[in-house]
Symmetry: C2
Subunit: 335 residues, 2 copies
């Protein structure tokens, strides 16, 4: 067990904006050691009243779209406005590859050396749901440490965008001109959840193509938008390489915030995100405790065999196991 | 509470192929009365040893593709071979509309009067998962009653195909010539799970178009097929209206069965379907019992409020509720 401080020490450090303490607290949050769980929970509970004040922006796009360059350019634009920003990631590949821990920081070298920016790579070695839970908690710590804008990055393939969408206020999709969305591997479902699309690499010979793409995607978005926010999704162009278009993107986001603050969606959306997280946490915790239970463990294999061979009904086996589970809770208490 | 027989009476009736008793047993299975639950479970347990001998075929396609006409033609082809068939449905719309109870039988009038065929419409008024669970159980009853081929029909939009795929041996997609799959509303995901596509309405002026569609879809399938069965998905054409092509479709299915029996996939697939059902039953039952619990009910609303307003961490609230739930099991036992 690594050396740990008291919860209060972490909490005080974070609230004072101490980056070292922030990083050490994140290590506790992401720790899979049983002994760290209580500490993590106490830290989170302690900083909770100081969270929620940052603007949370999700950024997605397929590999090759220039996501790191964009985040570096956009991040530095924000810090040049005096804002403190944190960059987090949900990287589905980190589960298999062991992560892009070094990757993230070396990809954004300038931003990494910016004193107003804090970059934390995706946690690794967990299920996608576990990574997302960690990222959400890290976001809270960063908010408590005083970061005003949180950028949560993910790769636009698979389920990770849904998770990022579920924890951010504004969702930005990066795309390229000249490639159909089919070719770019972006699913229709993602188009439906974005608040803005930025056509990146609108530089050099690409600039005309990018302008065409802006109007193409604008009509596509118009067709499929089911916005509940009241905000009409916007398509913009930018060049992260040449650091152009960052101001327009930020203005669009500010416009979104202003509108959704005035129509109440901003708060309502966060509330429903919290609610969704409550119920998915319940589902996850119910299953975790069930499958870790010794009474269940001792019977599961043989029942699985009977069910799989068609000698027991799945529903009956399920009921039987749950009875075993709940009865074991009773006897635990008696002993 | 309606008048009920003993479990043995239903079981004997079903095993003797008594259609009236089969229908009455299905009513018990689909009943939402608390008192029927035990009886339903006893009936299912009793017939279980006599199940699993039918060939289970899932059939999907968007509205307008001629699904009822196809099932009538294909069903009558099978009964003409001397086979006893049952036609079941998972109809997502039945949840909202109150069902297509009359619809199914009147749509397939000839088949409905065929003594070798048994048609049972989708159960209604439940969640899609509940409908699927009922259909699966009804399938078992039909197998015990001696039906040799079970056709499970669904509409090719939304999640119902995944449920049908998860309970059948062979999955057939009906399509039309001359309309892109985009236009037909078929998702790519469905193409990936089919064992065969039948281009219906290959009659009159459509026949040439159908032949073109066969080769188009064959190449499309070839590209996206990730078959674990060892069977190469086939594209065929047919005319349900003119009752042509039914023999070829049946031969294809027989070929599939022969191949997957010899390579072991047929049995392995059923085993993993059973296993999946066990674990989704566990998940469902854990949640049902949790949310029905009085200790949980009495605390849920206030915790939901705290979580949604950001004053409590979702994960902590979840743990707290689960502790309450498990402790209430203990005290139940003491009292």
């Amino acid at each position: 067990m690594p050396k740990r401080l008291t919860a209060d020490a972490y909490i005080d450090g974070i609230l004072n904006g101490d980056r070292v303490m922030l990083s050490r607290a994140i290590t506790v949050i992401e720790s899979r050691l049983r002994g760290d769980k209580k500490l993590a929970s106490a830290i989170l509970q302690g900083i909770l009243p100081k969270t929620g004040n940052a603007l949370r922006i999700g950024i997605t796009g397929v590999p090759g779209v220039g996501k790191s360059t964009f985040i570096e350019a956009f991040g530095q634009y924000l810090t040049s406005l005096g804002k403190h920003i944190a960059v987090l990631a949900i990287d589905p590949s980190s589960r298999i590859s062991g992560g892009s821990i070094l990757g993230d920081k070396t990809r954004m070298e300038n931003l990494a050396h910016d004193s107003r920016a804090y970059i934390r790579p995706s946690s690794t070695g967990l299920s996608l749901g576990g990574v997302a839970r960690n990222t959400r908690n890290v976001m809270l710590l960063c908010e408590a440490a005083g970061y005003e804008v949180i950028l949560v990055e993910t790769v636009g393939v698979g389920q990770s965008e849904t998770l990022v969408k579920g924890m951010t206020d504004f969702f930005l999709l990066l795309m390229l001109a000249g490639a159909g969305d089919e070719l770019q591997g972006i699913k229709k479902g993602i188009m439906e959840m974005v608040d803005a699309i930025a056509i990146n690499k609108a530089d050099g010979v690409n600039e005309l193509l990018a302008n065409q793409a802006v109007s193409d995607y604008q009509s596509a978005l118009h067709l499929m938008s089911h916005s509940t926010s009241g905000f009409t999704a916007r398509v913009l162009s930018c060049s992260a390489l040449e650091r152009r278009g960052m101001d327009t993107i930020w203005e669009t986001i500010e416009e979104y915030v202003k509108l959704t603050n005035s129509n109440g969606f901003f708060v309502k959306n966060r509330q429903s995100q919290n609610m969704d997280q409550l119920h998915s946490s319940i589902q996850q915790a119910l299953q975790d405790r069930f499958y870790e239970n010794n009474a269940v463990k001792s019977r599961l294999l043989s029942l699985e065999k009977m069910v799989s061979e068609g000698n027991e009904l799945p529903v009956n086996a399920a009921e039987h196991l749950i009875d075993l589970y709940l009865n074991s809770q009773t006897s635990l208490d008696k002993s």
